[in-house]
């Protein structure tokens, strides 16, 4: 009976899928995204790199949706065994699970770092982490339906507040800070993509979500909309951050976007400090990201070991906590972030493309035409 629980019996709508993809992508990167790109590019064209990075993510997203569509109602953890065989498939699944667990730990650490700096200075970081993991676990064990419903609730709030805060930031905006456009040439923009593509990591979740969709045919639409929202949001943030802070300063700041919010001042208004709103939004985004990664890790383990995933949700908690504690200082946290980004490129970029090619060559799975009359068969 237990095996049935792991079968994706829950179904989510196309809108919910798009919302889930957006919520997962929008995460810790909001705060730091301008700095790594600024350090590499040294020119104000960061926003162009952000757009191009997003477009590349959309292409990758479409590829991995096409891949998942060949295997209806099967998640990545299940169909990779069909494509490359049982043992290699399991190894690949375990690598992916490890990646998701590290990612969850990283999100927890980023959250506690920022809360430590801006909100709860004396509260031990461990307490923040444990509390957050507990709250996350509460949602994770609820399964995909409850997770996605919460995302639906949060995403409009996040987008609205972020746009609002960015609008307020316009008071210090100077167009000259964004000029010259393409001053260092187009090559520089391409170079910047290596930093900006990392902020879109998370869309590979479509390899699992497609299996849960009511109408898997519309998965391409969902992934385009799902990545499109973060592209829009990230482009606006990068334009305003650079327009307000200049590239030169964005390079020097630990949390450029937080500094931007710190800059906002409307004297006479009854609110002087807008940072609190920003932090609320940011914690929400971290929460959604954490929960989905945590869920994916648990689901993966559940499907690999053929057990109920909720057990693994609890089992992975201490590991996540330990990973969150591993970095010794802020620099190591950022380095871990980069490492995860590259792992993400491997899992979201290279693996699906290879699997897709192998699947086509070995004629595994079904082609798109077979959708209409298919039931569930394996």
């Amino acid at each position: 009976m237990k095996a049935i629980i792991n079968q994706p019996k829950d179904k989510i709508s196309t809108t919910q899928t798009a919302v889930a993809v957006s919520s997962i992508i929008i995460g810790a990167a909001i705060l730091t995204m301008a700095r790594p790109a600024a350090r590499i590019m040294n020119s104000p064209d960061i926003w162009l790199s952000v757009i191009f990075g997003g477009l590349i993510s959309i292409i990758l997203g479409i590829i991995l949706v096409k891949l998942s569509q060949r295997f209806p109602c099967k998640t990545f953890f299940q169909f990779n065994q069909i494509i490359i065989g049982k043992l290699p498939g399991r190894v690949l699944s375990i690598i992916t699970i490890i990646y998701y667990i590290i990612l969850s730990g990283f999100e927890i650490r980023m959250l506690s770092e920022l809360v430590h700096i801006y909100l709860l200075i004396r509260t031990p970081m461990e307490i923040v982490m444990i509390t957050f993991i507990c709250v996350g676990t509460y949602l994770t064990v609820g399964g995909i339906n409850s997770i996605v419903r919460v995302f639906e609730l949060y995403l409009p709030v996040v987008i609205l507040l972020l746009f609002g805060i960015m609008l307020l930031g316009l008071q210090h905006f100077e167009l000259d800070n964004l000029r010259p456009v393409l001053g260092k040439g187009f090559i520089n923009v391409i170079k910047g993509i290596q930093a900006t593509i990392l902020i879109y990591v998370g869309f590979e979740i479509m390899m699992m979500l497609t299996a849960f969709m009511k109408e898997p045919k519309k998965a391409v639409k969902a992934v385009i909309v799902g990545i499109g929202i973060p592209i829009l949001l990230y482009t606006i943030i990068s334009i305003i951050v650079i327009g307000v802070l200049t590239v030169d300063e964005a390079k020097t700041l630990a949390w450029p976007t937080a500094s931007l919010v710190n800059y906002i001042e409307y004297s006479g208004g009854f609110i002087e400090n807008f940072q609190i709103f920003f932090l609320i939004v940011w914690i929400l985004t971290i929460y959604t990201t954490f929960v989905s990664f945590h869920y994916m890790a648990s689901l993966g383990m559940g499907q690999v070991f053929n057990k109920d995933f909720t057990v693994f949700t609890y089992v992975s908690n201490p590991i996540i906590y330990i990973i969150a504690l591993l970095p010794q200082n802020l620099d190591e946290v950022f380095k871990l972030g980069d490492l995860i980004g590259y792992m993400g490129i491997f899992i979201a970029g290279i693996v699906p493309v290879l699997l897709f090619i192998i699947a086509v060559i070995r004629k595994k799975g079904r082609k798109r035409k077979g959708w209409e009359n298919d039931g569930i068969d394996t």
Partner: protein, 417 residues
Amino acid sequence: MMELTRKFLLLNILFIIITCILTGCWDRVELEELLIVVGLAFDCSEEADSIIITQQYVNPKGIGGGEKGGTTQKSPYANIIVKGCNVSDVLEKSKNMEGRRPNYEHLKLIIISEDAARAFNMYKLLNAILRHPETPRNTNILISEGKARSFFEITPNTEDVPVFKMLMISSNSKFKSRIPPTLKLGDISKSMAGGKSFTVQRLVMRDGIESPLDTMVTDTAPGKGDIYEINGAAVIRGDTYTLAGWLNEKETNGLNWITGKTESGVVEIKDKGTGQIIVYEAHKVKSKIIPIVSRDGKVPGNNIVPQEDISFTVECKIDGTIIEDWLMTANAFEEGFIEKVELSVQKEVFCIVEETLNKVQKELKTDIAGFGKQLNIKYPKVWEKVKDNWEEIFSDIPVNIKVETYVRDYGRQGSKK
């Protein structure tokens, strides 16, 4: 039965865990226990080897609706003066001197004395403030002639706390002539990170305070009143981050007209025949810095752009009003009068701008008006070649000035007769 004991045990464990977590709030902040610091003044010691920082904090009991008379009222503000070898040293020491915990979330103003700005690298000096998690980025910065802390000790007539008064003078700089735009901590951080020179508003004791009428000294309290003002600008070099020199009121106006970051500026001209004064006030300034690179920066056989190839044109268009004239025959209704005034104003503005540029380029050797930025925008490739010692190169670059001034208005009275 077994089930019940197990539940009981679990419940107990849960309670123990909960009590461990909920020991209380670590970050409890009681409003009454906070010392709200609103101003910092940086001075250096006689030998310029250590820093003296004056922190001004507000005493809420002294502000506003406190009952007057009867018992002595508390002063609405107080200063702590601490000496130390670096900024955080001072901030740490001050914790041992005050019972309440200093809080910098409402830091409004930082004054740096002339000596400190000359002796210390300002980027280093402000580093502790820029790192501090509490300090807002919109703290105003001023540079004072003379000791910075002395300005904190003058009780203003109109405000409760000295810092608030200075803040009000320094803000809305767009509509005040003779001062550069208000500079915030964030702006300073931007400029310094980019290695750009910048101007800071100058805080200065007024000279020529002769009579009580002038100082508005009230009864017996000396050092009270409006004995200081903010005018002119301090120029900070972008490469050494130290004070390079001052711009006086006229030059500051000139600079504002070049950058266009103002909507004000008063020009005083003299009528040709009679030598009588006519005063013109700008109310709209539009200016443009146009970089010109001849031969497009391409010199055959040479990779370095010769600085002769670069030049700039400053176009400045000012709309304004005649706000005062001492000329008895002046008649704005008459044809030709306005044109005459416009012409003389144009000449005067031209002179001021030229004088300013001369000082900025030749004497101070800084690029505070952002010429480099415009070159960067228009000729990014040329900029890459000259940016490393731009300010040195800039000092020899010719700048053409084009001034257009218009009299749009002459107030409520057009002529005297």
